[in-house]
Amino acid sequence: MTYERSAAEDLLYREAWCLDNKCWEDWLALYTEDAVYWAPAMDGDEGWTDDPDKDVSLMYMDKAGLEARIFRIEGHDSYATDPLPHTAHLVTNVLVHGEQDGLTRVTATWMVRTYARVRGGSVRGGLYEYGLRETADGLRIATKKIFIHDDRIVGPIDVYNV
């Protein structure tokens, strides 16, 4: 079945809310057990890597990888992650593209403003591609692909600021 845009928007906005409010467990619960989280790397000036088994990605993780990211943050032992910056996700232009491989395909545009007292503010942006699936717990994220448009990255890239 294909969803109304509002159902997809609710899920995407909730994800942004969880990240910006650092509700990590609630954020993780939005992903299916078999979720794939993928931020491809740049390939030349216009392209992106497209095969995670042959090309290098910025991030390519399963749900255990996402949970490990939370572990990293909550351990307060990562110099880059402690203290955490404030983040504000803007998620817009949400479109539902219909069903493919049993998932509802949704795209959106994102911009994240990050502010850390040690290094000040920065803004990054890009595009999202989601594959959503209905589960017993409601609509969940089975795949998320994040295109990060920025090159010459200042500061870390992590699940909370893209």
């Binding site: 030349g44 000036d45 090309d55 572990f71 990562s78 110099y79």
Partner: protein
Amino acid sequence: MTSAQELVDDREGENIFRVHRSAFTDPAIFDQEMAEIFGRTWLYLCHESQIAKHGDYVATQIGTQPVFVIRGSDDDIRCFYDVCSHRGSRLTGRTSGSAKTLTCRYHGWCFNAEGACTLVRGGDEAYRPEDLDRMDTNLRPIEKFGSYKGFLFGCLDADAPPLDEFLGGAMPFIDLMTDQAPDGMEILRGESRYMMEANWKLQTENSTDGYHVATVHRNFATTVGYRETLAPEGDSGMAKTEASRILSLEKINSGGYDVGNGHMINWADRGNPEAGPSWPQREALLQRYPAGKVKWMLERGRTVTVFPNLLLNDVASSCIRVWRPISAELTEIETWCIAPKNEAPEARRARIRKYEDFFFPASLAVPDDVRAMEGAQIGSEALEDGWNDLALGHKTLVDGADDAAKELGVTPLNSNPGREVETPFFAFWREWVARLTP
């Protein structure tokens, strides 16, 4: 103005080696470095696999000067200043691309991939033949250009020694990486450039600094260790990580070498070498190379820091890193995954996942390194308390080769057992002083 010599307090007879922190902060020193080091030494440009076909090019910089490396119709690789011979427009339009003819976007002059000017638009009508002769419309090659095992280097000093002589004692350690690849090495698709708000020399030191691994990367090790408990099957076999080695939980052999010309080596035995991506090649390698060398290839993680700004890292995965100074407190860093061509899919996948775990600005390690170096930059502004005393491991330093170096058949200038030592830095700083001293 303070001289480089005054900033490095090197008293060999008294066992003292200190670096004044203004070396990281002084803009006048930075200007000298750009002229005397980045203007005159061999610098890494790119890998030959990135320009496999006629017309493929990579645009980069030597110090502040734009250059590009391109493969010609004769299969030779050349490096030119990236500037149109007409009125100075940059010729390449991309960080990498392919063009058998480079057409200047400004007024349309054309150049072939061997650097010859093939078209001066409207030239016959507007120029006298002697005008064009005088102008020399061909592209200008950089002063020196060379390849070592596919790693391409350029140098703007016509009087610099040959590349082999410059690389010197670093070559056997570069070979440990390239000799794992019977079909040659390739750079994998997937780029990342990131900025560090710190001096470039902090990255040079960090590249060979074994002392920070157990602190800065403790979080990396505990995080991947935790992940293995969540998904034991996902992180098994070749995907198995080396978390416990990073935490120094087990006693391992390790060390640091000064191999001359400012190049530094840091190594440590691998925690579980059989999880390494080249381990399946072990039998084949043993038929080709002495056992001591194969042990170095597969059972010892190595960082090879080539003066002044290149790191070849062959540990759980394999990485090339280059850092380019922008100002005294800003550095641009580029990182690539390099691997043997025709690697088995399972090994390639494991290599890539481990690379992503550690080497990118989205990884579980590099952001912590960057933050540590940025912290050192800020702290270095406290110049009243201005000396970094590099005494760590000084008491265990020995001249020449240690047992491990003998296994490889090389003789470093000096060796130090243990990776938690700062003595390899002496190599870098002595070269730095020599280059900045008229």
